[in-house]
Symmetry: C2
Subunit: 399 residues, 2 copies
DNA sequence: TTGAAAGCGCTAACAT
DNA sequence: ATGTTAGCGCTTTCAA
């Protein structure tokens, strides 16, 4: 409508400058809130911005500021490590090769109508291709309420600061390289990584490349990298003390995977406290932090120690599975057997009966993790650090 | 170590060109796999890339290609709509103002040690500040297994294509504007939006801005935008037929929220099929697609119709809640009351008893949604379209 | 087939 | 306090 309707794409700084009768630099200053700008001119610029419908181009800005204003939120797993296939032995991976390496998928088979009228129908093909590769890993990740809490904490912290999280999954060697590559390209300013398994090579890969990152939980192998973590042993102590105070005397525990620090520490802390109270031997059954494994572990525990009157599960999911089995085996919770979980996840509250559990302030910890990363980005010279949170006991019905 | 250790940051095309003894243009061609490149020179360039450890700078590339190679994955909700506060009535929002609008948070209180030695301790402060604003929305989102499946489908499709998803939540007016702004800045090439509530203004906002997007599920109000969806009515029909075939004669249903198409359609489809089979009246209790609301609805249904022998819940979460209540009220599932859910989520399989349910191929649908968006990005002229998937019945123990 | 050169839109010295 | 100018690192005509 105005005289200014050239064919070009979205308006640029130049356009705004022209419209406001000032220079590009001035417009830039106004937009970035730099001081030393005449209020009158400021108003003029703002008007011009409004009139032209200007939006700064992020790529252009990033190119010069060397910041992407985004971070990678990566969920990392052990995963298979198939040896590199062939060619290109060099360290640098060209983006295009990674892109074209696509093995595609069932994209072609979809029936997509061109009209907007009635739309098309797509025969009920079952989830054939997609869950093959990484699907199972992601399914596991999302099955645990833990992940959602991390995202919540991170996003809530990042959002008011204008930083956006890019979601990445790194469960294979290839995927890990892509994460590193992504960071090296400057697509993200740093990484927040949640490792789901021990022996995860990603933290080392990232630090070796000199890239800024913060971990959720101490790495299984020592790596010079910042992290937030929970005082797992203290949490286990709280659980043991509660069980003992309640009068339980034949107490067993369902441990998490022992190759991950959280699993080790929770077991060690529990055993330690039990020992200090005169219980040198504690029946243990191992689980994998899943409901099913918790149920299975409970079965085993019960088979060997039918007279159990207290159980500490290393996380809520396993505690839920344990409760289910206990009920099926005719035990009342907590009257016959008291149960304590760990994490204070949604699962704990919605369990029947509601679970007494050790609270891990995941959202706060995730936010702190993000804060540490932003700190690091602001002052790259600062040394790595760690922040350890204290767990608390949440008393509900199960113990 | 080599002669080439200038102080500068990461190596650029220029550096590689120099090292390979060719021009920037040639290196660019090799890296992007453009034809017409002498094999010998290609090799030389690759070597130079390896030697220099070159990685293309994404911002620079984006600036000229006008593609970000990322998309916004946005979870959108109704949310409160506080009227705009003041000033700046214009349509264009400067990035800086949005950024500086940060009301900050409990960042300052964290105790962070500077040494990497022992790390510091953080007193067990409960999740105070973070869950206030958007926390509850995100908590809801993650509580539903649905979301994880969408992400799984999207990521699996996008990953081999070198596109990265940026996670965004748009449950307030401000958050919605930020999504639009983000897209307008070219930070993402398009949006994949999952609307959790009706009356969501985001789809319209996006299309009005001429930005490419695809929805999961038909919008409550008609908007000229592409989407994928499920034939919900057909799914409800499958459930009704199964219940009837099983011999159930006093059948009720737990409906989802009726302001969202999926809720409406599942109820309508169920009623319709029941009517066709001589059941003009079907007891209905409304739920909110959550386990708790499903339990509550079941209570109401049971109170009014104690002799019920079959229940169709509009999603698995509600079906799980219903099963729980049925068991508590002394009904055996499926012997006394048969129960059918909807979605075939994890919740269905892990329910006791395992839930017979209507399968919604969420992962496939999400992948298709991503495919539609990429299609659109490749050929912006193409008209909007829709792809409707057919549900299938998954028979387990509950019916 | 390769090189030279012109920008993409922005920020940040530097000059005024 | 504002304008001028020089790039940021890349792709892509256009010539050679």
């Amino acid at each position: 409508m105005t005289e200014d309707s050239r064919a070009a794409g979205s308006p640029t700084l130049e356009d705004v400058a022209k419209a406001a009768g000032v220079s590009r630099a001035t417009v830039s200053r106004v937009i970035n809130g730099v001081r030393n700008v005449d209020p009158v001119i400021q108003a003029a610029v703002r008007d011009a911005v409004a009139v032209t419908g200007y939006t700064p181009n992020r790529a252009a800005r990033s190119l010069v500021t060397r910041k992407a204003d985004s971070i990678a939120l990566v969920v990392s797993g052990a995963g298979d490590d198939p040896p590199p296939v062939a060619a290109t032995a060099g360290p640098a991976a060209s983006t295009s090769s990674a892109t074209s390496a696509a093995s595609a998928a069932s994209a072609a088979s979809a029936t997509s109508a061109a009209d907007s009228a009635g739309g098309s129908r797509n025969g009920g093909r079952q989830g054939a291709g997609f869950d093959g590769g990484v699907g199972s890993f992601m399914t596991e990740v999302f099955a645990d309420p833990f992940f959602g809490r991390v995202v919540t904490g991170v996003v809530n912290f990042l959002r008011p600061r204008g930083i956006h999280p890019v979601l990445m999954f790194a469960e294979t060697s290839l995927a890990r390289d892509e994460v590193v590559s992504y960071l090296r390209q400057g697509s993200a300013d740093g990484a927040l990584v949640v490792s789901t398994h021990a022996e995860d090579p990603l933290p080392a890969l990232i630090t070796d490349a000199g890239l800024p990152a913060v971990l959720y939980a101490r790495p299984a192998r020592p790596v010079r990298i910042s992290y937030v973590d929970l005082a797992h042993q203290d949490g286990a102590r709280l659980a043991a003390e509660r069980l003992l105070a309640r009068g339980c005397r034949r107490i067993g525990t369902i441990a998490g995977p022992l190759d991950v620090p959280a699993g080790q520490d929770r077991l060690a802390g529990f055993r330690d406290t039990m020992a200090r109270h005169g219980h040198p031997y504690v029946p243990v059954a191992g689980g994998e932090f899943t409901e099913e494994s918790g149920a299975a572990a409970m079965e085993r525990l019960l088979a060997e120690h039918p007279d159990l009157d207290g159980v500490f599960a290393a996380n809520d999911l396993m505690a839920v599975g344990a409760c289910q089995v206990l009920r099926e085996r005719g035990r009342r919770v907590p009257d016959d057997v008291a149960v304590i979980g760990f994490d204070d996840s949604r699962a704990a509250a919605s369990c029947r009966p509601p679970l007494t559990t050790v609270r891990q302030p995941v959202e706060d910890m995730a936010a702190e993790m993000a804060r540490l990363l932003l700190d690091r980005l602001a002052r790259p010279d600062r040394p790595v650090t760690s922040v350890i949170f204290e767990p608390t006991l949440v008393r509900r019905a199960s113990a």
